[in-house]
């Protein structure tokens, strides 16, 4: 099964269009919704949720969840990808990819709930770990793809001028794979922001709390503010990822 989630548009022109259009549209909508929320008559419950401290708190929790997931993904997936492309471990690659693929076919909310029920713990890390597992595949697959597309002759040349295998990996293979890894990381980050809205199911915080509060207490305003903040955050993270792809690739490939 090679079909998995990707927000990759497959068109460089559309990517450029989004690079300029997306942040402008996001900021406009966000400003509009916040203006609407803060200028209308709020009742007690709404005031307790729609105020600067509460909104910043939940957004900050959401960012922390996302960052924690992204850090775990990079720390696990990049070395794993490196190992699985070494000649001595190549046999294990299809097995690991199959497991990761099935992991991603599982619903994120199911993994989250299962992990919570299995550990019977709640909080930040109970949300982060299953979400990191869920967001692992794009970076893993792209690391492997990026390392495999490196021209054999470059590796041989590196070895020929006396570089060690580790030197070739660190100074030739990985730098050339960076654009692929960044593309995978962008997808993983978007997945992380999206699934972090589910963290509230296991008391992990984040903007999902506002959506749930608004829904459960029949206060659509709270729901809308939380949902729009989450959407804006996802679009901004995606935009930053696009920017990183443009700016952080190796200079020779730009």
């Amino acid at each position: 099964m090679s079909t998995t989630f990707t927000a990759d548009s497959g068109s460089s022109r559309a990517d450029r269009f989004r690079l300029f259009g997306q942040p402008v549209a996001v900021l406009l909508v966000l400003a509009g919704v916040l203006f609407w929320a803060f200028t209308r008559e709020l009742d007690d419950i709404e005031r307790r949720n729609i105020n600067l401290t509460s909104l910043l708190d939940h957004t900050w929790q959401h960012v922390l969840l996302t960052v924690a997931v992204a850090v775990i993904v990079v720390v696990v997936a990049v070395p794993l990808g490196v190992v699985l492309t070494r000649p001595w471990a190549r046999a294990a690659a299809p097995v690991v990819l199959a497991v990761a693929n099935i992991g991603q076919a599982a619903p994120s909310v199911g993994l989250l709930v299962l992990f919570f029920l299995a550990t019977s713990a709640t909080g930040f890390w109970v949300a982060v770990l299953p979400l990191a597992f869920y967001a692992l595949l794009p970076v893993l697959r792209n690391t492997m793809l990026g390392l495999r597309q490196v021209d054999r002759t470059l590796i041989d040349a590196g070895r020929g001028i006396g570089m060690s295998a580790v030197g070739v990996l660190g100074r030739i293979e990985l730098p050339l794979a960076v654009p692929y890894i960044l593309a995978g990381l962008r997808t993983s980050l978007v997945l992380a922001v999206g699934t972090a809205t589910l963290a509230f199911f296991v008391q992990g915080g984040g903007l999902g709390v506002l959506i749930d509060t608004g829904y459960k207490l029949g206060r659509p305003a709270i729901l809308v503010v939380g949902a729009v903040l989450a959407a804006a955050l996802a679009l901004l993270v995606d935009w930053l990822g696009g920017l990183a792809e443009q700016l952080l690739g190796p200079r020779g490939l730009r």
Binding site: F5, S11, V113, L198, V224
Partner: protein, 215 residues
């Protein structure tokens, strides 16, 4: 109660939920395909149109599904309507993108030849271009289906149908004997459905690809 005992005793209910889950996803993919292919046909000849359509649909896909679902609740209420709307919106990108790529990838020489032997513009589209683009469109449907399987589970929060309800029942019965069994049955059920549907797509691909371009 062991997991298998649980599955055995609730078999009928699980089967119903699985059927509802698959049926919702398949219907929404078909709806997304109808809209996506029409959208693709409308824009594939214009670079600006293709750019805007691709950028918009990929921006929609970036929005967290739980947030979009939440936004739809005040607008559309609970149940089928927000579920279908969210699933169709998320299913669009892969299909629109692949339709545009597939149609744009058709060799100009082939369409020129078809025009040359006197086929109408619509005839060329229906009998040449869409048939050649079909494997790409089908691949888009396959990606959409995989994605919607997971999103449909979240839609149970808005009282949507399917296996998500089993997962959420597990969550709300935390501490009881069957909580883990329920969450596990719901999660594994979605994975199994996803794998089965993926296999069906491979089969459909084999059967419906034009003989001339079959690998």
């Amino acid at each position: 109660m062991s997991f298998w005992d649980y599955v055995g005793s609730r078999w009928a209910q699980l089967l119903t939920d699985a059927y509802l889950h698959a049926s919702a996803v398949v219907q929404c993919v078909l709806l997304a395909t109808a809209i996506g292919v029409l959208l693709g046909i409308a824009v594939y000849r214009s670079p600006v149109g293709s750019t805007v359509a691709t950028a918009l649909t990929s921006a929609i896909l970036t929005i967290p599904s739980f947030a979009l679902l939440g936004l739809l609740i005040p607008l559309l209420g609970l149940g089928v309507r927000p579920t279908v709307t969210a699933l169709v919106l998320y299913g669009l990108l892969p299909i629109v993108r692949n339709t545009i790529v597939g149609l744009a990838g058709v060799d100009r020489a082939v369409t020129d030849a078809a025009r040359g032997i006197g086929m109408s513009r619509l005839g060329v589209l229906g009998r040449i271009e869409l048939r050649l683009a079909w494997p790409a469109i089908l691949a888009g449907m396959r990606v959409s289906t995989q994605m919607l399987m997971g999103i449909a589970a979240i839609a149970a929060y808005a009282k949507g149908p399917g296996l998500g309800n089993v997962i959420f029942s597990g969550l709300s019965r935390v501490g009881s004997a069957n909580a883990v069994n329920m969450a596990l049955a719901g999660t594994v059920g979605v994975v199994v459905l996803a794998l089965v549907l993926d296999g069906i797509y491979v089969l459909i691909g084999r059967l419906t690809t034009s003989r001339g371009i079959r690998g």
